[in-house]
Symmetry: C2
Subunit: 569 residues, 2 copies
């Protein structure tokens, strides 16, 4: 359990404040994360990131020989696009940026959008998402696998390639090669507890362990009897070796990772059983790392990662590094104090003060009011949404929604106060949501609101244009989230909402009646997601446990549209 915290909502900020105080000579804080205090001009910047709660991943491995910066999200929550943009700008050395994370939907979307924005600004940025977890999808669908402790090995190799002076395309090639040859399998004994929560995200029955766990408190894929260390070593070694991606390689990098409460003594016991098995299989073990490298708060569990090396990968795996949490050898490199850390510029303020009629301004005011109501209902249901999410995910949906909708509501109110039109209020709210929420829902809501806003423009919304705006929002989410109806996502409530609203308006219902009818359908649809089969096409596979429970994204959508009821027009 997490015991040391102030307000859990500012856990990330408190944690970063302490970290930055401690490593003030080596690490500098920027909005959204941290960068090296000493820059390395002319080298590709490797920026790693994701939610926090994984220390030393990811801000503990920033420093010479390793990452140039880390984007630091809230606990187990993807940082926002704005966070990623800010850190990459600060970390950039003028030779391009490689922005990396484990393969999770939220990180993929937020980092992807950040890379596009940075590249458009002249900072060429590539993304890469690690897919080492063999339990999360079959080999034929490796691109759907999530990244767990293999993050450490792939990040290490990528960073050393950049430190060696390779150009961005070559760093990306090395990174892809390392990822192709990296495999991890984990087991869990007990779940993690989020700051402020009183129970773990999942529990394991005594006498059992879960094989195939994630690093965000996700439960494992199947329960088996708890074994002794020798048997556990056999399970891990056999299953990871069975996927050998490079039969010609007899030299492997090895990471035995502890998730938090599984201590070094236990990891050494496990290593004593793993090492001879790997050697008996004919492998030479190259600089194995046994310790807590990618944790999950106080979760109990461990994993085995193997990277089948070639000459390039071995050189980069062995290269020196010097960071707050990880050191290898002695780093000697050309570097200079980062005299002037470029703090992320404020996003260009959108112009919301065009000449608008009173009717346009009133529509904008109505939209802002609806956001206030929606923010209140989400605040009220924050814990419930978190609990729903914890069944199949990491339990962060409630907090993420709240952070997003609060930012959106504040921005909407300010925009409406400046007499913005409905479309501009929506656009401002969408941007604030995406830049502040992080996570998967944040980037999706941001994209949906932005698409709707573009459709509406400055016109006073009418039923027909609103139906078109809702349809545009659906399309934006489908494109970005790569999900469809039936996948147990918010689309399962949003698509029926879209269809009913369209049908009602086509048959001449008032705006208000159409919305009410559509909102009711959305509520029924959200509840019905509990009977759906697991969604597909997601980086994070869905546990069977989630069947029978409503999807949190669909639930929060239904809550919002049932609360944010326009009363007239």
């Amino acid at each position: 359990m997490t015991h040391v915290a102030n307000d859990p909502a500012r856990f990330r900020e408190d944690m970063l404040n302490g970290f930055l105080d401690l490593y003030s000579g080596e690490i500098a804080g920027v909005p959204g994360g941290v960068v090296r205090a000493v820059s390395a001009p002319g080298k590709v910047a490797v920026v790693v990131g994701g939610g926090s709660g994984h220390y030393p991943a990811f801000h503990g491995i920033v420093g010479p020989g390793f990452a140039d910066g880390a984007v630091v999200g809230n606990i187990f929550t993807s940082p926002s696009r704005g966070d990623a943009v800010s850190v990459c700008r600060a970390a950039s050395n003028g030779a391009g940026v490689l922005l990396m994370a484990g393969n999770y939907a939220g990180d993929v979307m937020n980092f992807g959008q950040a890379a596009a924005q940075l590249t458009s600004e002249g900072i060429v940025t590539e993304t890469f998402f690690v897919t080492d977890d063999i339990a999360s999808a079959p080999l034929a669908e490796k691109a759907k696998r999530r990244g767990i402790a293999g993050d450490f090995a792939v990040f290490k190799i990528a960073a050393a390639a950049a430190e060696a002076g390779l150009a961005l395309p070559d760093v990306v090639e090395i990174t892809a090669r390392a990822n192709d040859r990296t495999r991890t399998l984990g087991v869990g004994f007990a779940g993690a507890t989020m700051p402020g929560a009183t129970s773990a995200l999942f529990s394991v029955d005594p006498g059992l362990m879960e094989i195939g766990l994630g690093i965000h408190g996700e439960a494992g894929l199947r329960d088996v009897d708890l074994t002794d260390a020798d048997t556990l070593a056999g399970i891990l070694v056999d299953q990871v070796l069975a996927e050998c991606p490079a039969p010609e390689s007899r030299r492997i990098a090895v990471v035995v990772n502890g998730l938090g409460s599984t201590k070094y003594e236990e990891l050494f016991v496990l290593w004593a059983a793993i090492a001879p098995r790997l050697r008996d299989a004919g492998y030479e073990l190259i600089r194995p790392e046994v310790g807590e490298l990618v944790t999950s708060l106080d979760m109990s569990g461990c994993s085995l990662t193997l990277t089948w090396l070639d000459d390039d990968l071995e050189r980069y795996w062995l290269a020196p590094a010097s960071t707050p949490a990880f050191a290898r050898g002695t780093v000697s490199l050309r570097a200079e104090p980062r005299r002037d850390i470029p703090i992320a510029q404020t996003e260009p303020q959108q112009d919301v003060t065009g000449t608008v009629t009173d009717e346009q301004a009133a529509a904008g005011q109505l939209v802002a009011t609806l956001f206030s109501s929606a923010a209140a209902i989400i605040a009220e249901h924050e814990d419930e949404l978190g609990t729903l999410d914890a069944i199949a995910g990491d339990g962060d949906h409630g907090r993420g929604m709240r952070r997003g909708i609060d930012a959106a509501s504040t921005a909407a109110t300010q925009a409406a106060g400046r007499r913005a039109s409905a479309g501009r209020v929506l656009a401002t709210a969408g941007q604030a949501w995406a830049d502040n929420a992080g996570g998967t829902s944040g980037v999706l809501w941001g994209a949906a609101l932005t698409a709707a806003a573009t459709t509406l423009g400055d016109h006073v919304p009418n039923p027909k244009s609103t139906a078109a705006a809702i349809a545009a929002a659906v399309d934006a989410i489908r494109t970005l989230g790569k999900a469809e109806l039936g996948d147990k996502t918010m689309l399962d409530a949003l698509i029926p909402f879209r269809d009913r609203f369209r049908d009602e308006t086509e048959r001449g219902s008032t705006f208000s009646d159409a919305w009410r009818a559509a909102a009711t359908v959305a509520e029924e649809a959200a509840a019905a997601t509990s009977s759906l089969s697991p969604r597909v096409g997601r980086a994070r596979p869905l546990s069977e446990r989630s069947i029978g429970h409503p999807d949190p994204g669909a639930t929060s959508f239904a809550l919002i549209v049932n609360t944010a009821l326009p009363n007239n027009s």
Copy 2:
């Protein structure tokens, strides 16, 4: 909870095997612990140690700039005298040895005996025991305080002084100065679980935390409401600063230590609250260390350690070090590969094959048989003794007694097979017990049996000589353990046993009747320890919880003498 283990009885061995495999280029294994693989000729050897379960303390901090060797006991159990002798012999560089531990009765006795033996062999060895825990005794009785996370700071400074080339007396002076100026206070949120156990050594009610916890799963001294991080920081800072030992010093080394399940994220949150408080009090914080340095398996909790520096202490605190678990700066020192690691010699085999009569040999055989019976009863009650010990101590009494008596019984049987006299069987058993058990009970039983053996000599025991032997055993324990009747130790059963046996024999009872009567008294006395007030004169203070529970040492003594009943003569 500890999940990764094979046979819990060989957890230490499995753990060390994995550790040594991993760090084979830097660390070498020797019986009883580890030493640097590369020696530093001519420097004082600093050997640290204690029970295991504290990684990185203590074998994780062996290497250039830090310790020369570590004596590694079983989980939370003092290593034996034999372990300490073996490691110090291997670590010695020809300039004397400083053998250090936290201030616990078992370590003090075992290491003290080891130092005496080493010095008599020509390896001048000093001991030092750290006393940083302000909660464990009042300042006026600082020598009774136990060592917790302050071990790290004092060991670091001592080791750097040795690395700098100081002679042994000067290293001891620096060490004493560092200890005098070091203070720690800890809090616990949840107890540790020993390998093989299914419940923690103590538990904390939800919503509470314990102030003044130990690092062996000992419960804290008082419960208070769980607070937020800011309030917790205030409690720790205020109480540690209140004992400022050096008002002229405004420069302090700081250690914020996590005990295992309290993670880095939490420690950073705490640091963000601690650092400004210390600075506001006028201190400059010199190279603070925030992390897991002296752990207690998966225990949840943390502590604050301050060392008030002077110029010498600051230089040694800041000096570079390079070890498996801790690195600072770049170490450059004269060193050479340790080509020939001196493996500890076998203890000189005691001569047990003198010319003895059949009667003398039969008496020896009887003693060996009694040890077999006693070993069986201890095996049967191992868990019960561990549970009793867990109430006030670290729950290791059952396992330690079993390890000791099994070794004693085996040695006794072998000696009797060589026709040894009763005294020589006892002496052999006592030596085997002390060298194999570790812990407090091991060294005390070893000393008691050795004293009794010396009194008996090769004579066939009679009631009078047996009474004298028992009296000698009592005296040995009183001298070594610095305890008296009523302190809640094994003496509370042993002294009534001695008195009743003497009285019975003086009034002419048979040996067998006297023993039975004394054994019954011992059993009653052991049970009566449950109503005694806390023992005094022990390095480890007794929790009030132990009142109302029988003392485990007295209980195991009573079990043994009630089982090992001589049937005649």
